[in-house]
Each structure stands twice: as C-alpha cells, then as structure tokens.
Symmetry: C2
Subunit: 188 residues, 2 copies
DNA sequence: ACGAGTCCATTCGGATTTGAACAGCCGGCC
DNA sequence: GGCCGGCTGTTCAAATCCGAATGGACTCGT
C-alpha cells in the first residue's frame, strides 16, 4: 500500500543524521517555527487537499461537462436571489482574480450556462445570471458531485471530526477575509 | 424545451423557506447526500483552503523569487538521499501531471535551481538534482514561508485541533493514494 | 457643476497547465 | 535473439490563468 513511502522515508533517515538535519532545517522542522506535530499536519493537509481537489475535478469531468469552477459558479448563482450575482461578489466568493472570473463567465456564457447582464444600479458593473440550461446542468451534475464528496471525504469522518474541521476552517476563513480586507484598506 | 418552467417550479417551491429549499436541492444540501453539518464543513474547507493557498503564494512571491510549487520541489529534493529524485516520484509526491512537472523542472533549471541528469539505472528516466543555488534559495525562503504558515494557519490551532486535522488528512491521503493505485491497476 | 481620486470589469500579453500524441527504453515471452 | 506490450518522460497545440494597463463610471469635495 503506502509502504514504499515509509521505506523511502526510512532509508532517507538511515543515510545519516545529516539528511535528517537538512530536513529539519530547510523544509519542515525548524523548531522555532513549527513543531513536529504541526509540520506533519501541514504536510498531510497540503498533499491530501491537492489530491482531493484533482480527484473531484476528474470525477466531475467524468460524469458531466462541468469543471469544478463551473459547478461552483452554478451553485452560487442558484442560491442567489434572482439567480444573479455581481462579478465582484462572485469573484470574491470563488476566490478568483477578476480576470479569471471574466474568462470563466465568458466560457460559460458561450456554452449557454449563464448570461451576462448590465447592472441596473451601477453602469460600470455587470452581473452573471443563471440560465435554465445552467440550472439543468447543475441539477444533473449535483448528485454525482455530492456522491464524490461523500465517498472521497465525508463518509470517512465522524461527527467529532466534522465539528472540528468546521470550527477550524470557518475561523480560518474569517481571519483570511479580514486580513485581505485590512490589507486592501491600510488606512485603518 | 420550456426552460422557464423549471425556474417557475423552483421559485414556487416554497412552503415557508423557499430559498432554503433551493439551497438544499441543487447545490449543497440534498439531505440524502450530505447533512447540514457536513455541507457547512465542506464549504468552509473549500473556501478557506483556496484562500489560504493564494495567500501563501502571494507571501512567498513577496519575499522570494519562488512559487509555492518551486518551494515544494526544493523541499522534496533537499530531503531526498543525494538531493535527487526521479521525475515520476517527484510528480507523484507533488500531485503534478507529468507534463506539468516537465515544465516546472525546465523553468527551475533555467533559473539554476535544479539540474536534470540522466538516470543511471533506467535510460528512459531522468532525475532532478538540487543545485547549490537551489539549496540557498530554499534556505532564504524557508523562514519567511514557515512564518506565513504559522501566522495564517498554525498559530490559531490548539493541540487538539492539530491532532484532529493530522488524523483526518493522513487518513484521507492514504485513501486517495490507494484509490489512485487501484484505478491504475484494476487487475488487482 | 467639475475635477481628482477611486472602483468595476475587461482587455492584453505572456506565463502556466492540460491532454493527447510521441520517441525511446524496459521486461518478459516465444 | 527478437518481437510485443507497457512504462518514462517529453513535446505540442490548445485551453486556462495571472498581472498590469485600460476605459468608463461612481463619489466626493469644492
């Protein structure tokens, strides 16, 4: 199973304390920065998350014509009042750069999943509107995608773990949003 | 096809909590798939992780010439025996596609951070080797990057939370690796 | 009213990423 | 030996993404 990984780590350790020190110094250890537990946690989090995201992307592509980004856009629009959202709002929730969002919406528009409309209250702005085709695509993709999320992640978590993750990541999200807002408005 | 019917049905679908039902049906809830707690957990995890990754990327760019991918490559090479790794091994650990890794190593090679050498035991393969400049770059970037990880994430977690995250994500990583191996070798 | 400063979204050029082919090499099997 | 299927890494074109620059539109103070 994962024995090759373990063996590799073992042999790396065996080759002498120097590589262990190297490991401690330049990548993960650095006792003043991150203790051993936190470093292991960080590494597991990064690798697993990366793997999970690519897996979900693959699953989604396998049984729909949507990317994860497409799906996410459709979800946010479907929840919004009037099934429409301003570009900025959408970009902020998706954690997309403005230009990326423009591109994303343009491609979805070409496929008929969303429409672009001028914002009535601010002539600079525009808003993305969910189309019937977009809603249909979301409806068809949702069960498969949710099943993916369950089988790859959620089914394996007990209620305690879910509570812990929720607490940690909601706190993290709040802090990161606050940091971003603060750096955007340094006058405060 | 009459797509407006769908929308009409949707908006008529309120018996007390229309937008809540909408939310439940098409994006996240779907009680048979994910209960409310798990959906909130999933959403917080996705958004916060995205935000965290972009934040770390920005920080890294701000005080070094490295990308997160660059940094990760350097870390893995610095830990490997002989400061060298086969392309496939590196790609697997980074969760990179083969072509992405080729490009990544090529750019790092142009900047002198790594070298590419022919693999002695398999003439098809090649391996990436850490250079002195690469090690130096890692040494300079590491403190800043680790500080980023601490301030944005780890300082906010108590030991219980760290333990929980570690347990969850190590388990997840094992499962996803196993899934991938299984789908690559369906004969077993 | 009017101008400076700012905000919103897009555009543009260049960098990165992907997926499908590809060339070369391995291992086993006749 | 010599061929065949599979592995390893690269290449290529197309799709995606980013950051800086842009154009038009708000908001304020005067």
């Amino acid at each position: 199973m994962d024995s090759s990984i373990n063996l590799r780590v073992m042999s790396a350790n065996r080759s002498g304390s120097s590589s262990q020190n190297l490991k401690e110094c330049y990548c993960c250890g650095m006792s003043e920065s991150l203790d051993r537990q936190r470093m292991a946690c960080w590494r597991a989090y990064i690798e697993s998350s990366q793997r999970l995201f690519t897996q979900l992307e693959d699953d989604l592509r396998a049984d729909s014509e949507l990317t994860f980004a497409d799906y996410h856009v459709l979800v946010l629009l479907s929840e919004a009042p009037g099934q429409r959202l301003r570009m900025g709002e959408l970009a902020s929730r998706l954690v997309f750069s403005p230009s990326r969002l423009t591109y994303q919406i343009t491609t979805m528009q070409k496929r008929g999943l969303v429409a672009r409309e001028a914002c009535p209250v601010d002539r600079r702005g525009s808003e993305a509107v969910l189309t019937a085709a977009g809603l249909l695509a979301l409806r068809e993709a949702a069960p498969h995608h949710l099943r993916s999320v369950r089988t790859h992640l959620m089914d394996d978590l007990d209620d305690t773990e879910v509570a812990c993750l929720t607490r940690v990541f909601e706190r993290l999200g709040r802090r990161l949003r606050a940091d971003r807002d603060a750096s955007a408005t340094p006058s405060e």
